[in-house]
Amino acid sequence: MVSQISEKESNKYVVFQIGDQEFGVDIHKVSIIEKYMNITRVPNTPDYIKGVVNLRGEIIPVMDLRTKFGLPEKVPDEETRIIMLKINDITLGVIVDSVAEVVDFTEEEMGSITSITNDRSMDYVVGIGRIGDRLITVLNIEKLISELTEREQGV
């Protein structure tokens, strides 16, 4: 437990691709990464909610990040993954085109967003990590999930 002290300033992120963009999520919030599986559609939900899956006996909602970020849908293939994110006992699966690797960023390497774009995915960004000339957009998972739970409670 104590040995983590020295690594405190750098965090690990799972990097995945959607289209030609690379995104990252804090590895502590990833519970497991699954291959694409059968999704049961749930009626009367927003279009970016693909439905629910059976993850070892638990029913987990799954969101398509492509739809959420306003990108065209893509037929799932061998590379498609569902990343199971877990925050405060709430699990949400997100469909991504592929999962690349796990990277380390230190605080300094994580630049904050300065440019305002019209890109819808920017609403959920906490920062941009830089590795060489690659830019990795780190997503705000809490916001993604809290938005969903609030939406349901509002109904």
């Binding site: 437990m1 104590v2 983590q4 002290i5 020295s6 405190k8 059968n38 049961t40 559609r41 749930v42 009626p43 009367n44 939900t45 909610i49 439905g51 629910v52 899956v53 059976n54 006996g57 638990e58 029913i59 987990i60 909602p61 006992d89 709430i90 699990t91 949400l92 999930i145 969903l148 739970t149 349901e152 409670q153 109904v155």
Partner: protein, 691 residues
């Protein structure tokens, strides 16, 4: 960490004791001279005092201590039980319940002192000239603010405070002593000018860890990592090294201003004198409350984070049954493994049959583990009715039966509120005033019956009163007054249909609004709640003779019989309990009436709901390609609705799974289940869809 692991037990047991206290107090009120009841009450108060003391809940302990004094005086005939005293004892009970609820939700007893109750108790004693023992207790002295530190006993020789140990720590230390190891509490103080204190602490930790086993650290290692500590921390270690070794080694690290190594002896942590649970732990706990402010805050944080979970107390026999069944499963598994190699088909089939039998039994056994007697809900009602009767100045007796009827824990949790509504309703609207009853030649005391019994796969709960019954004419008048229907239509409605209006929101027939009921909020809530649980509510009433509310609830919510249907490429489950029949309807019998599709079945006209439309299924089979329309007719109350489906898959026992926080509350979907192929099928909320 500290006492958290005992919180659940504390809450459970306290609730049980409070329930005992409640029923005993009700008995005492009936017969104030009953010594047995008094002894029982005293015993409960005493136990609660001990328990709250052990947990360090000083306010709760103080209150029970004062109760105990009064009860002791009553036991010894120095005070006699007047209704005033019983009232105050009831107030104590309420206060204790509040404490336990606060503990349950926050992990701490809260700040409420209930000074008025304590004063009232002291007053009783003063009037009777009895010296209160409680005023001498250290807890009372220390009760206000955080003045506890004044009288904390010093636990160790050198004046160092010992950390608080839980049973687990003590067990480890016991093993350490048995192995002849040394146990030290090491307190390290860092230089105030130290910049990277987490890193410095880390170095110290590493050194200590290399030479010993750390069994406890305050603040926790995680907090130290996050720099959530002042310039000092304390660890407890088991080691074969000596005291001087640590003093020397740690002092050799830079930026350390003080090291204090305190040897811990078995006596200091109470290994040899565990028997004196009551007082010994009480006093040692008051001492712990007073540890450094930072430390205390850390404790509080821990406690706040803790919420007691849902628990079921299970009869050990039921667990044994489960255990046996699981061992049988293992035997079957082994048998199947053996048969893998042989080509003997009959042995294989035999094993499969055996497996089926065991899983069925296992299912039953698990269901039984979840079952809780309705007593858990019923037991608070006698007190409630007593209070209501006093408030309304009526004579009401509550007669309960079938308290041992069992229901699934999830159902039990939900039926409390609806039952309270119904009971209050009966007491307020049903039972007449004393004068009215006398005039009508009815017995002086009004009776409310609360019965529970099992009926097939359902549990029935009835709330019946011998009061004035429902005034049907008044309902008629009210419907017209409110403009819900025209007088002509009201005239054609049956008594049953009229009573249905009582369950509509904002519909009350009471002439005056009381605190208890009459606001029209209630019956509709009752109905909604019961229906959400998959149950039904019926009313029987007779003018002048009384009203009976009949609630039918499914035995369990977790597993239900369902009909699986296919619509397009999707599969859905419909709870069998709500299905009345399944029919193939000729398209000539599907008509439009008032812009609504209906089906004509025998001589009935039933509204039609096309599931593919409400559920947004795009690939459903169009009517043109079907010979007839397959409909599932569901009932909601007395009304029928036909749901159109593409085809039927069959009847199946399904396990209901929650859709989770994100998806809960999705329209028309009650939950999900996992099918044999591992896919998820959604369960249709037929109550929400029925028209």
């Amino acid at each position: 960490m500290d006492m958290n692991q005992y919180l659940d037990i504390f809450v459970d047991e306290s609730r049980e004791h409070l329930q005992d206290l409640n029923s005993s107090l009700l008995e005492l009120e009936k017969d104030p001279s009953d010594k047995n009841v008094l002894n029982e009450i005293f015993r409960v108060a005493h136990t609660l005092k001990g328990m709250s003391g052990t947990m360090g809940f000083a306010r709760m302990q103080r209150l029970t201590h004062h109760m105990e004094d009064v009860l002791d005086a009553m036991r010894n005939d120095r005070i006699s039980a007047t209704s005033d005293i019983v009232d105050i004892l009831f107030k104590c009970l309420d206060a204790l319940e509040n404490y336990v609820n606060t503990v349950s939700s926050t992990g701490d007893e809260g700040n409420e002192e209930y000074g008025d109750i304590v004063d009232a108790l002291a007053d009783i004693l003063n009037k009777a000239g009895v010296q209160s023992k409680a005023t001498n207790s250290p807890v009372t002295k220390a009760s206000s603010g955080n003045g506890t530190s004044d009288n904390k006993p010093e636990s160790s020789v050198e004046g160092t405070k010992l950390l608080e140990f839980n049973q687990y720590d003590i067990d480890i230390m016991k093993k350490g002593f048995e192995a002849g190891m040394n146990i030290f509490q090491i307190h390290v103080e860092l230089d105030r000018g130290c910049l990277l204190k987490a890193a410095r602490a880390f170095i110290v930790f590493q050194l200590i860890e290399k030479n010993s086993d750390i069994i406890k650290s305050v603040p926790s290692a995680e907090d130290i990592e996050d720099e959530k500590f002042d310039f000092e921390f304390t660890v407890v270690v088991i080691t074969s090294n000596g005291k001087e070794f640590f003093e020397k080694e740690i002092n050799s690290i830079a930026e350390i201003t003080g090291v204090e190594v305190t040897p811990i002896t078995p006596e200091m942590i109470g290994i040899s004198n565990e028997e004196h649970q009551g007082n010994a732990i009480e006093s040692s706990n008051t001492a712990h409350v007073a540890e450094e402010p930072g430390e205390q805050a850390e404790h509080q944080e821990h406690k706040k984070a803790h919420r007691t979970g849902k628990t079921v107390r299970v009869d050990i026999d039921r667990l044994d049954v489960l255990m046996n069944l699981v061992s049988e499963l293992i035997i079957i598994k082994n048998g199947l493994e053996n048969q893998m190699n042989s080509k003997d088909n009959s042995a294989w089939n035999e094993s499969i049959e055996y497996l089926e039998r065991v899983t069925t039994n296992l299912h039953d056994a698990v269901m039984k583990v979840r079952m809780v007697p309705v007593e858990a809900v019923f037991n608070r009602f006698p007190r409630m009715i007593r209070d209501i009767a006093r408030e309304l100045d009526k004579d009401i007796e509550l007669r309960m039966s079938g308290e041992d009827t069992e229901l699934d824990r999830t159902v039990i949790d939900e039926i409390g509120d609806p039952l309270i509504h119904l009971l209050r309703n009966s007491a307020d609207h049903g039972i007449e005033t004393r004068e009215e009853r006398a005039r009508l030649n009815k017995p002086r005391v009004g009776t409310i019956y609360l019965r529970a019994y099992q009926d097939g796969n359902h549990v029935v709960i009835e709330v019946e009163d011998d009061g004035r019954g429902i005034d049907i004419d008044k309902i008629r008048k009210k419907i017209v007054e409110r403009g819900l229907e025209t007088p002509e239509i009201v005239g054609t409605l049956s008594e049953k249909e009229l009573i249905e209006y009582l369950f509509k929101p904002n519909f009350s027939t009471a002439d005056k609004v009381t605190d208890l009921s009459g606001r029209g909020v209630g019956l509709d809530v009752v109905k909604t709640k019961i229906e959400a649980l998959g149950g039904t509510v019926e009313v029987e009433t007779k003018r002048g003779a009384g009203t009976k509310f009949i609630i039918r609830l499914p035995l369990t919510l977790a597993i239900i019989q369902a009909l699986l249907v296919r619509i397009g490429s999707e599969k859905y489950a419909l709870p069998l309990s709500s299905i009345r029949e399944i029919d193939n309807i000729k398209f000539s019998n599907v008509k439009m009436i008032r812009n609504r599709e209906v089906v004509i079945l025998r001589d009935m006209v039933i509204p039609l709901v096309r599931l593919n439309e409400v559920l947004g299924i795009r690939d459903a089979i169009p009517d043109e390609k079907k010979k007839h329309l397959t409909v599932v007719v569901v009932k909601k109350g007395d009304k029928l609705t036909a749901f159109s489906v593409d085809s039927l898959i069959g009847q199946q026992e399904i396990v209901i799974k929650s859709l989770g926080k994100i998806m809960q509350g999705v329209k028309y979907i009650a939950g999900a289940t996992i099918l044999g192929d591992g896919n998820v099928a959604l369960i249709i909320d037929s109550n929400a869809l029925a028209l």
